[in-house]
Symmetry: C2
Subunit: 351 residues, 2 copies
């Protein structure tokens, strides 16, 4: 097989046995801000139903592949390496790959998509089908087993809502980062809580138990030390890790913490409603059923104060047909199912 790029990443392929036609595989990648996961699955020719559990051949993990965060060269190398790892672990190689779905955060514009397709094209033989999507699309597919219909709400460190209609229209809301107002995210919740501590301390806001709880959690003795603490490492994930403290304070009755969570629920529900309305996922009468896939630490709290449940309550008041799904598989598996579904659709068209 032709070597499509220089470098040692694909050296393992020379040591592999030749793979037969029955061993066709697909790759699904989920590239988030903290890590990148690649799943290698056999190409499932029969889909009704998919086997349960799904036959995952290998799973490989690497670091951040968001080109906005780490730059293009580093993102590309991470993606190439994690795909090579997954293929090597599967005892497979690039000639067995039929389709790749790369769902990566930071894909916000068709130009992002095209640039990444161009990289991938250099790595794989020309017959391999390549699909690039925002990572939210993989999360949706992880709840719908690869079907692009309905809406997904992700609320982890960041937040985004993304939706598709069966006829291929799509829409998104939020997912633009903290500067651009992702207010219901884990970062948003925790930053509001830190702000409330500062405002109570300097006399701009009411007293709150968030002060003692947050200071204890991060080992500081006074709110004015928070300024140095946030400057020292402004990474969003470090701040978002304070969400459980906010939930605990709210459960214990703290009014400020309750208001922050309540407003975050409204924000998250607003993102979903904006997508559902633009796509009319709820039908003309507003009552059609549609799936809402819920993903991310903020929605999975499983506490007494259950943010995910409150978001669903808020949405179902306006759209009673909302059908919440909490996926049993990870987004990278959703991406692999998408690769399979896209491939089979094009394959059937050609027959």
């Amino acid at each position: 097989m032709k070597r499509y790029r220089n470098g040692e990443i694909w050296d393992f392929e020379h040591e592999m046995p030749v793979v037969g036609g029955n061993d066709e595989v697909v790759l699904g990648l989920d590239g988030g801000t903290t890590s990148t996961v690649c799943i290698c699955m056999p190409l499932l020719r029969v889909a009704d139903p998919f086997p349960d559990p799904l036959p995952v051949l290998a799973r490989a993990v690497a670091g951040c592949s968001n080109h906005n965060s780490v730059g293009e060269a580093a993102a590309r190398e991470t993606l190439e390496q994690v795909m090579a790892d997954a293929l090597a672990k599967s005892g497979s190689n690039r000639s067995a790959v039929r389709a790749v779905c790369l769902a990566v955060s930071g894909v916000n514009h068709p130009t992002d998509q095209q640039r990444i397709v161009n990289w991938l094209r250099e790595m794989f033989p020309s017959y391999v089908r390549l699909y690039v999507q925002n990572d939210a699309v993989a999360a949706l597919a992880s709840g719908t087993l690869g079907k692009l219909h309905g809406c997904v709400l992700i609320a982890g460190t960041g937040t985004i809502a993304y939706g598709f209609t069966e006829d291929g229209r799509e829409a998104r809301a939020a997912g633009a980062g903290p500067t651009l107002g992702d207010w219901g995210s884990g970062y948003g919740i925790a930053a509001q809580a830190l702000t409330a501590v500062i405002r109570a301390y300097d006399g701009r806001g009411p007293e709150t138990n968030l002060t003692s709880s947050i200071l204890e959690k991060i080992g500081l003795s006074s709110p004015d030390e928070l300024i140095g603490w946030t400057y020292a490492d402004p990474s969003w994930a470090r701040i978002a890790a304070l969400v459980p403290v906010v939930v605990s304070c709210a459960e214990a009755g703290d009014e400020v913490a309750n208001r922050i969570l309540f407003e975050s629920v409204q924000e998250l529900a607003l993102s979903v409603k904006a997508v559902v309305e633009r796509l009319r996922l709820c039908g003309e009468d507003g009552k059609d059923s549609f799936p809402l896939v819920m993903v991310g630490g903020v929605l999975e709290a499983k506490k007494r104060w259950d943010i995910g449940k409150e978001v669903i309550n808020c949405i179902s008041k306006e759209f009673p047909g909302v059908f919440p799904i909490r996926p049993k598989v990870e987004p990278a598996v959703g991406a692999a199912l998408l690769a399979r579904n896209f491939y089979m659709k094009e394959f059937c068209k050609e027959l």
Copy 2:
């Protein structure tokens, strides 16, 4: 004269003539996030009144000296260099210095203050008086000619309110950076405007003329390109530079822009009110007169939509004795006057 540190920064001193007792000087430094200014002034023995204009011997400028932003070693080197430059330009040297007031952003805690005093102590003979303050204190002194009484409100890229009573109590509000809710700052105003553009675009918020005005200003064709634009360089000053666009839109009647400015006025006024109340600058009956020094690009708009004027209106409803001052000299001159006043106070005590 003893050399207090290694390095070439102070080499110029060997080439100077010996300076007589009449040439005593003070140094005032204003270290902000974008630049650091050092002023060298003669030690004015008579203060009633100070000469007008004030006799500035030299002014030197360097880059950022906020230790939170550039690290301690770089901050220290910048501060040392800018003081050496100011002394060299004055034809003076360290043996002529009687007092130094270093007012630098990022001084938020007594430990910050002590650490910086320790650096300075290594640079100067032991008889030199050293004072370290938050940069807001120099801004206050620039409006009150070195008297620490009243409140200062700074609103440029960031915002802070800082106040002092005549008997030496002090208080501050805000000044904690965007993560910790400096909402009335230039960054805060512009980030809200960018957020409004995204929310209008994805269906979460009302339409606004901010969309076309901001996209035109920064040369983008679609709101989804804003995500890449903010990631590419998230520096606060770059975002805060959009404030004039928000003001123009508000003046042209855009409701979203008007709401953002109105809320920012409330936030800025709230910071001042919190300081005034904690220090009772307004006296027991709330009607005493106190100076409010107004500094920073957001407050100096001089447009039809005048943020500074609205802030004063808002404060004077609660505290009719507020006396606004727009300083005629820069904060580094305020720092030099502080150095002079602190020194003379201690000097008189010793007599």
